[in-house]
Amino acid sequence: MPKGAIQPAGSLATWSRGRADWSDRAVAVVVWLTALAVTGVFVWILADVLRHGVSGLSWGFLIDGPRDAGRAGGIGPMIVSTLLVLMVCLAVSAPIGVGTAVWLAEFARGGGLLGRLVRRSLDVLAGVPSIVFGLFGNALFCIYLGMGFSILSGGLTLSCMVLPLLIRSCEAGLRAVPDEYRRAAEALGLSRSAVLWRILLPAATPGLVVGLVLGVGRALGETAALLFTSGYVDRMPGSLMDSGRTLSVHIYDLAMNVPGGQSRAYATAIVLISLLMIVNTLTCHLADRWLHRRITRT
């Protein structure tokens, strides 16, 4: 289609060939140099992490328990603890997040005092520093509710942290559902619950999944909030009331408290970054699919 042949998005590096004015040239040079410098620094960091950590990687490292305070052995229990914390976090935040998103997007659209309040407080929640979540989780879950240092406390704290992320993404997904669907369903005399279950939620799941995956990414990298909630015990957890050390807390401990722990810290970092990379790729893939679906649908 020649007429509609406009590229959707991408670089415009082909803007102009031939003579350009000197300021354009100068800016191009500056921008390229900046990008090169940023790439250089980041590749430097990643290369350092790889160089120090790759020797420690092995299959046993992934499944064994740590020995000698983490200098030997593996990170199996930490991976399990991390996954358990994530599980608790998702099990709690997903229903609350979806419910809130549905309410905000479908029932409190125009505003209303309650809707505005909830929205405003979610905005604030999104900006709360993770260490404050740590303080809060420590005070509420560990001490006040008596859960102690446990995977449960950690997961609940994290679920508070990822909630705004989840709600925003899911709400965006719901808003992308064309109004015609709602009107058509209304005209057919369907109840609101039926519309929600049959039409809105299926249409909004990709947005929810993107939110979930982003939330998982944020939760995986978290140290400060978990240090004071899920604790430090590096044993394989037996139940959710056990304390469990997550990967990022393990990295922190190896780097800061264990003599000779650096190479293991870097190796753990590689595992964690790979996990995050998988999550990121998944996010991109899903987001692309979602966008694609939205375009083909409208």
């Binding site: 939620l201 299926p202 604790g231 590096d234 304390s243």
Partner: protein, 283 residues
Amino acid sequence: MRYGWGAVLLVVFAGVGTYVFSHGLQADPSVPGDGLRGRLVLTGSSTVAPLAGEIAKRFEQLHPGVRVDVQTGGSSRGIADARRGTADIGMASRALKPKETDLTSHTIALDGISIILHSDNPSVALTDEQIAAIYTGKIAKWNQVGGPDAPITVVNKAEGRSTLELFLHHFKLNNEDIHAGIVIGDNQQGILTVAGDPNAIGYVSIGTASYEVSRGTKIRMMPMKGVEPSLANVRNGTFPLSRPLNLVTHGEVSQVAAAFIAFAQSPQVHDLVEAQYFVPIAR
């Protein structure tokens, strides 16, 4: 709907998993063994925690019915938790103070605190007075104590650490008078800091430092009052700045806790103590 089912499955999986884990996988009560059963919570000193963790693991192997949770914090936290009953056993990397007579301490190992310098620093030995002067800012350059013409970077520990308290006590200093250039949290951060700055002076656990020196990290331990900081000198009591690593209990001690403490003081764990570069107690 492909993603839809994926998401639903994910959430259901998370929910079921949560349920199962909160109910089903508790330690099996019917395990064979010597009948010891229960859970111990240890909190306190980050210096003791890695050692206690290793001891706990071996103890759990011997007594499958017992679980020992080790949380870090600091010595003062360990003492407070033991007193409040939040923890069964507190960990402290110092001796008990006179006003802490309500508690009982059980020494499991000895450690010393060594002044460390960067390995390129030519200064050989400093007197206690010189160290005190450096830490209070009265001596600000290395050439005042026979070193190169460079400013001294004073590395101090953050508030609450017993290493700090011991250091202050030995040199009769007040934390408010210390003129720190860098404040660190844990031992390893101190090692990395000094290894990264040729003009730094810091103090860390001898165990930590000797491990790092043996691995070729660019730090050097400085003799104090002519005594080389080594585990041997800590053991024979000649090193002036040494301390006990203690388990602390309050009042009546449960059978499990008593068993754990006895185990931690027994020769069965000496290899673990030495592996963490501490000095096992002779008994």
